[in-house]
């Protein structure tokens, strides 16, 4: 038998206070699509960074085609045929597509020659891309194509993809998968990291599951259910959020032809959004990032004020009211960006609890801060939402992303909102914490609140929404009952494939 393309054995990497990878071994054959599964902090990123030469292992060996492989830097890894598509794109906004690609190549040809090659490769793999465009103007899907083409131009033997589909519409995902299958058929191995288990079942030949830095199992994704894989990742039985049968109550929040300019130069204006949300109902709003999600949240929270007669809460026009007035009425929001928008990074959890809770929890009296009450409120959030932190005196920055997310969502949920708007409530949160957050949102709706969940995670929206609508170019589609919606229908609501074509295989 031929030696495998890449064999890792006994890789260990420790950071101060945490062992990121502990004795990890796996093998990848040429042309194999291998999934790497695990919760946040399970060590997936550290492992691929070692293969790509960004991090050096403390011990253990890597072999490529049977010979020792220890890249000192990404350059060396690329020379050996390892390509990587990053989770957070490693692109330069102000530079053109061709310049970006040249930066990631060892022996970049002249820009003219390179542009021609880019066009050739992009057409061969059904990923149309104009080499002269400035990357800052591209959509998320197009940016990812830049990264993929950058890798393909170097004839990789192993392509590492770190959560590639989180920014794509279902149609774009389908096109990406066709490209990856074509590559795999040509003999390129793919190491694929994702949280989305259904995608892994559809795409991957084999999977390695990591938990707390250790390999806890291997499986064949097509023969294992998503639930079983999730439970292997978490190490315990997973609770599916439960929702009670309910009949929606009266209309709590109504948007009537909401229009708003975006506060940022590259933002998306809201165009004529009309929708009603009833008590006890969860409205899920999907859509590819950058289609008006942030702007909609700002218009609902009161960060951007609206003209008269556009935003109604019960019988009151709240369009001209600011965030504090809206909070006092019971319209609460939790924005997407945890550090810097939902929470002040360098302030303690008590102070952060004070920031949004002051009005409804009576934490301020006559302009004076009531610290003991704020601390009690923060402790209540920490306890109710299982936030892992030494105490409420710790800075928000010191919490891991998932824990801080639980804190900022819990902070709003515990203020007994009548309307709660959340953007990306479980972004970057591992499976068990995500389930807890979703359950809290459902419980809130069961108790008679109207909940709007803006998210790019379609599985999440399908799981908790009563009705689903999609944002596309600042317009909101007609909401439809979430049960029974097919992926194709959702994709069309989200605006289709944005002009991408299927690979000509």
């Amino acid at each position: 038998m031929n030696p495998p393309l890449l064999a890792l054995s006994g890789l260990t990497k420790a950071y101060p206070g945490v062992v990121a990878n502990d004795d990890v071994s796996l093998t990848i054959a040429p042309g194999e699509v291998h999934a790497l599964l695990g919760e946040n902090g399970a060590g997936k990123s550290t492992l691929v960074k070692m293969i790509y030469g960004l991090v050096k292992p403390d011990s253990g060996v890597m072999r490529m085609h049977g010979t020792l492989f220890s890249p000192q830097e990404p350059r060396a890894a690329r020379a050996e045929g390892v390509g990587m598509v990053f989770q957070h794109f490693s692109l330069f906004d102000a530079l053109s597509v061709a310049e970006n690609i040249a930066l990631g190549m060892e022996n970049a040809p002249r820009l003219g020659v390179l542009s021609q090659k880019i066009t050739e490769v992009s057409e061969a793999y059904g990923l149309p891309l104009s080499p002269d465009r400035i990357v800052g103007d591209l959509s998320a899907g197009e940016r990812q194509r830049v990264e993929i083409i950058r890798c393909l131009l170097q004839d990789p033997k192993l392509l590492i993809m770190d959560e590639p589909t989180s920014v794509l519409t279902p149609q774009e995902v389908e096109i990406l998968f066709k490209t990856l299958r074509k590559l795999s058929a040509e003999g390129t191995a793919i190491l694929y990291i994702s949280h989305k288990l259904e995608e892994i079942r559809a795409l991957c030949d084999s999977a390695t599951i990591l938990r707390l830095g250790k390999v806890v199992g291997h499986c064949t994704p097509s023969e294992t259910s998503a639930r079983d894989m999730a439970e292997m990742m978490v190490g315990s039985t997973l609770k599916t959020p439960l929702r009670a049968d309910k009949t929606p109550g009266g209309v709590l929040l109504e948007l009537r032809g909401l229009k708003a300019k975006s506060p940022s130069a590259f933002g998306m204006p809201l165009r004529d959004i009309s929708v009603q949300v009833r008590a006890g109902e969860v409205l899920g709003i999907g859509g590819v990032a950058g289609n008006g999600q942030d702007e909609l949240l700002a218009a609902l929270s009161g960060e951007t004020l609206s003209a008269k007669d556009m935003v109604w809460f019960k019988d009151q026009d709240i369009g001209p009211l600011g965030p504090t007035a809206r909070r006092a009425l019971g319209v609460l929001t939790a924005p997407e960006e945890r550090l810097g928008h939902a929470a002040a990074p360098d302030m303690s959890l008590t102070e952060n609890a004070m920031l949004t809770g002051a009005v409804r929890e009576n934490l301020v009296r006559g302009g004076m801060l009531n610290w003991p009450a704020a601390r009690r409120f923060a402790e209540k959030i920490i306890q109710a939402f299982d936030v892992r932190t030494p105490g409420p005196g710790n800075a928000a920055r010191s919490l891991s992303g998932g824990n801080l997310q639980k804190f900022v969502i819990g902070r709003e949920v515990l203020q007994r909102p009548e309307v709660l708007v959340v953007n990306q409530p479980t972004w970057g949160v591992d499976a068990s914490a995500a389930a807890a957050i979703r359950q809290a949102l459902l419980d809130l709706a069961d108790n008679g609140a109207a909940v709007i969940v803006i998210s790019q995670d379609l599985d999440e929206l399908m799981e908790i929404s009563d009705r689903f609508a999609a944002l596309n170019e600042g317009r909101l589609s007609e909401p439809r009952p979430a049960q029974g919606l097919t992926v194709d229908e959702i994709g069309l609501m989200m605006g289709g494939a944005h002009g991408m074509e299927v690979a000509h295989v």
């Binding site: 550290t46 990404p74 350059r75 490693s90 692109l91 102000a94 930066l103």
Partner: protein
């Protein structure tokens, strides 16, 4: 008032000289900022260059050795800034301001015994018959080698930034240091080199003031040119050609107001003295309407997390 006393040929030749220190200092800062580093210590590096160049030229009798020493002195001081901001991750604004204050004080100390000394003169380049062309000869072909070097450096920096891989990497580091790090570029090393280039250029600019333009040594003789250079980089939208234009404009109006003062124009001296600053900034503000040109990582501290 006698405007006819202003000789247009001498005036143009003079403003090329007046603009040269600014070209050097601003060009060096442009490269540093393109790599994402905001070094507010230009004034300090210039004055250190001015005294290093002056002292070396006086001691050795060779102005060119003086310029070399000025570049080394400016680069050495910038290395202190690089250590503070790239290794100890100190705040760039505060470090840059400290560098200016330190440079001003340290140069005064170094220069104590050089006050009132006359430096050796740098000869003009001999262009032979070209020098005898009427009008053009005295304007373009009657200068020292360093002035031409300054102009050439603008062309070189422009070409390197636009056409070479090294320039592309430099711009990439300034645009997103995290992405550049992920691709395997050595962000700290590249930035340190850019800072040192900036320091050497500022040093040359300072020495051009103390050896050619004024030529003598007095404390604080750079008189804010370093700050103008900083403003010039921003208003020139980080583009070398626009920077050259702004520097000539500033040099030209400086020279013009001196000539006007000499001619006894009935405008208070204070207004004339402030005019170069105001007009240069006004023109460049209008030119810099396209604001998106700032390097995206400018002034941000880079810390490799892995």
């Amino acid at each position: 008032m006698d405007l006819s006393s202003i000789n247009p040929v001498l005036f143009v030749a003079g403003f090329l000289v007046a603009a040269t220190p600014l070209i050097f200092a601003a060009l060096g800062e442009l490269v540093a900022e393109k790599s994402g580093v905001l070094n507010l210590g230009v004034e300090g590096m210039m004055i250190i260059g001015a005294i290093c160049g002056f002292a070396t030229a006086v001691e050795t009798g060779s102005p060119l050795l003086g310029f070399a020493a000025a570049a080394v002195g400016g680069a050495a001081l910038s290395l202190l800034f690089a250590f503070l901001t790239q290794i100890t991750l100190a705040n760039q604004v505060a470090s840059g301001l400290a560098l200016t204050l330190f440079g001003l004080g340290f140069s005064a100390l170094l220069g104590q015994s050089y006050v009132g000394v006359k430096p050796p003169r740098l000869a003009e380049v001999n262009f032979g018959p070209l020098h005898d062309i009427p009008v053009l000869g005295p304007i373009l072909f009657s200068h020292d080698i360093v002035l031409y070097f300054g102009f050439a450096l603008v062309v070189v920096v422009w070409a390197v930034l636009k056409y070479t891989r090294a320039g592309l990497i430099l711009r990439a580091v300034g645009e997103s240091h995290d992405a550049a790090h992920a691709l395997g570029f050595r962000v700290v090393r590249i930035r340190t080199l850019a800072i040192m280039f900036g320091g050497a250029c500022a040093g040359l600019g300072g020495a051009y003031i103390s050896l050619i333009r004024v030529p003598q040594w007095t404390e604080g003789m750079t008189a804010g040119v370093g700050w103008i250079a900083l403003a010039l980089v921003v208003f020139a939208s980080w583009k070398p050609w626009r920077l050259l234009l702004g520097a000539y404009l500033f040099g030209g109006i400086t020279q013009l107001q001196l000539n006007l003062q000499g001619a006894g124009v009935a405008i208070p001296v204070e207004y004339l003295a402030m005019s170069p600053y105001i007009i240069t900034i006004l023109v460049l503000v209008v030119l810099s309407a396209d604001k998106s040109a700032a390097p995206a990582s400018l002034g941000r501290t880079f810390h490799a997390s892995s």
